[in-house]
């Protein structure tokens, strides 16, 4: 849970007091700037006597808002444009505008009251439906209502685009509408009161390359803050000393980035000639550019669930095909591993109709869900297979825990291949089908899976949570949730060894892939590929190029079974 604790920065005067707020780091980096708080709306909508010009007052407000939305539409990306389009339709809807005008006339009242009545009637109706999809429309209606009330109140619409440079944007949550307007040259960090590491805000922050912290409250507009996305901290009114420290850190990071540029274009190879492959993890098509700019050697994890998020219906085959093809084409002959829909757990998508579960991480998620929702899965497989004609696309199945899941999924893939071929559609008939290793069951059955799958990718975040039986979000047990746990290191070793015995490739696609302390361990285990957030790639390449494979291999084999605890394991990792 986020906490608020004042810290004494030094022993000097009272001026040395600042406040450190702890939340969850959702996007790395350090941002220093002034807080701009996204307004929350609180208007007087009580019934008043109409102004003589009330009717035109209302129509002018509608016209002003419609113009503002229209202007935004011109520059919005495809994702945002769709939402703006639906806002435009709702605003121009006869049931809304005509009804509000009717109330103003019939009751001789103010526009604020009429607007509130009409929008709230429909919002309440949608909320009462008990359908999450309709509830989401209620949020759209309130969004439009608030903007209309702002205009009626003579206030400017909050315009993210015109924020001054050095703004730290603080919001309850960064909605897609707001995100569409963020200019990364002016906004230097994002802080939200809600959301976590897998929220849409987190993806937006990472995709814009902005530091981000979630789960923090009590920040006032105008105050100077440091946002430390690496450690999930926000420092309010930092003392000059702290500011200096962080400016120093910022400079260091900049300088380090500069140094790492030397590794751009180089091979990821150890001093004794063993090659590693360094891939990027992506979630949105807009991440492609970051991955290319970061010198990724391919995509090790395309999290397709983001194509399904923040919308009201599943993406069509055509829409998915376009996205997959775009990634495949961007990386041409380099591999692109597309993970099929990994929903459930902490990733909720309302319209898919997964009910609230007692234990979502142990519930109906990922492959378990897709195998039951074959229509949805079928559409995704068609789109991926069609895209396979345009690059080196591979399919990766998440959360495999037993043989039948892999068998059924492979049978479906074969069926879709036949169907597409019969329709004369080009595809890669030899497309590789691999699995995520993220359940203890998959680790124990690894020799079987190594014969059935074309490749492995270890999802270290989920695997740690399942092997250690620890809820990542529970602070009381969080210290157990470490990839350095000897049990985890052994699991990784066993999986990589099995992959090598059976001649298939083994990758890492959890956060551990970006941890330089683990790089030589992975090399020594016989891992072939590491996939990580784009901006970690050059740093890990430096690490790969500094070690010897034969040494790492020997040390890992000699040490792995002697480890007893995390401290000992950390020392062992350091020594490789």
């Amino acid at each position: 849970m986020p906490s608020c604790r004042p810290l004494r920065a030094g022993w000097g005067s009272r001026m040395d007091q600042h406040t450190v707020l702890t939340g969850i780091g959702i996007s790395g980096g350090i941002g220093i700037g002034r807080v701009v708080v996204l307004p929350e709306f609180d208007f007087d909508t009580s019934k008043q006597k109409a102004d003589p010009e009330e009717a035109s007052r209302f129509l002018n407000a509608v016209a002003a808002l419609s113009a503002a939305i229209g202007q935004k539409q011109e520059t919005a990306g495809a994702e945002q444009a769709e939402i703006l389009e639906s806002h435009m339709m709702l605003l121009g809807d006869p049931s809304i505008s005509a009804e509000a005008q009717r109330i103003i006339e019939a009751e001789n009242c103010n526009s604020e009251y009429a607007v509130d009545q009409v929008f709230e009637t429909y919002a309440a109706l949608f909320l009462a439906s008990g359908d999450e999809l309709f509830a989401a429309r209620a949020a759209d209606l309130r969004d439009i209502k608030n903007n209309l009330l702002l205009i009626l109140d003579g206030k400017a619409l909050f315009d993210v685009e015109s924020l001054p440079p050095g703004s730290v944007l603080v919001a309850r949550e960064v909605t897609t509408t707001v995100a569409a307007g963020i200019n990364p040259d002016n906004v230097c960090a994002l802080v939200t009161r809600e959301g976590g590491a897998t929220s849409h805000t987190a993806i937006i922050a990472r995709s814009l390359g902005l530091p981000g912290v979630a789960g923090v409250s009590r920040i006032e507009a105008g105050s100077q803050v440091i946002v430390d996305g690496n450690r999930g901290k926000v420092i309010l009114n930092p003392t000059s000393k702290v500011l200096e420290t962080y400016r120093g850190l910022q400079e260091e990071q900049k300088a380090r980035k500069q140094t790492l540029e030397a590794y751009r274009g180089l091979e990821s190879v150890t001093t004794d000639g063993k090659s590693m492959v360094l891939f990027a993890n992506i979630g949105l098509v807009t991440d492609i550019a970051h991955a290319v700019a970061a010198d990724a050697e391919g995509i090790g994890l395309f999290r397709t669930e983001f194509l399904y998020m923040n919308r009201s219906t599943a993406p069509s085959e055509e829409e998915q095909f376009t996205a997959y093809k775009q990634v495949a084409t961007a990386f041409a002959e380099k591999p692109v591993i597309v993970r099929t829909l990994d929903v459930g757990g902490d990733k909720e998508i309302a319209y898919l109709g997964i009910e609230k579960e007692e234990n979502p991480f142990l519930g109906w998620r990922a492959i378990r869900f897709c195998l039951e929702r074959q229509g949805l899965f079928h559409t995704q497989l068609r789109a991926i297979l069609r895209a396979s004609a345009f690059g080196r696309v591979k399919i990766m199945l998440p959360m495999i825990s037993c043989a039948s899941e892999l068998k059924r999924a492979k049978a479906l893939i074969e069926e879709v291949k036949r169907e597409l071929s019969a329709g004369g559609i080009l595809l890669n008939q030899q497309i590789e089908v691999g699995i995520m290793i993220e359940t203890p069951a998959a680790v124990l059955m690894v020799d079987y899976f190594a014969q059935e799958a074309d490749f492995f990718s270890i999802g270290t975040n989920d695997l740690t949570q399942y092997i250690m039986a620890v809820d990542r979000g529970n602070q009381n047990v969080a210290q157990l949730c470490s990839v350095y746990q000897p049990a985890m290191l052994r699991a990784i070793y066993q999986v990589a060894q099995a992959a090598n015995r059976h001649g298939i490739e083994c990758g890492i696609c959890g956060e551990a892939g970006a941890d330089p302390l683990l790089t030589r361990f992975f090399i020594g285990c016989g891992v072939h590929e590491l996939s990580m957030t784009s901006n970690a790639i050059l740093g890990i390449r430096e690490r790969v190029r500094s070690g010897r494979y034969e040494v790492a291999k020997e040390r890992v084999a000699a040490g792995i079974h002697t480890l007893r605890d995390v401290e000992q394991a950390a020392a062992f990792l350091q020594s490789i």
């Binding site: 769709e82 429909y122 109706l125 999809l133 309709f134 069509s316 229509g375």
Partner: protein, 87 residues
């Protein structure tokens, strides 16, 4: 007035996207376009009215179209529904 009963096959019913296409299909016509479901009558030219009808997958709606271009309008909306309203 022309009437016709037709089933909505979209997997999640008339939600935002298919509803939007439904409204866009009928809006250019001069005719009044209403539809009935579960005893209620809704305006097919109003997104909010269409959404508030809460049409689920497999529900049947009765289209009621009247005006000078009612036939062309009926043809257009039936063909749009049958082709899956963009899904």
């Amino acid at each position: 007035m022309l009437t016709k009963t037709i089933a909505i096959q979209n997997p999640s019913g008339l939600h935002m996207r298919p509803a939007g296409l439904f409204v866009k299909t009928v809006t250019p016509f001069q005719s009044e376009v209403l539809f009935g479901i579960r005893g209620g009558e809704y305006n097919a030219k109003s997104m909010i009215s269409v959404l508030s009808a809460m049409v689920k997958s497999g529900d049947e709606i009765e289209l009621r179209i009247s005006g000078t271009d009612e036939q062309a309008c009926m043809d257009a909306v039936v063909s749009a529904i049958e082709s899956g309203l963009g899904e």
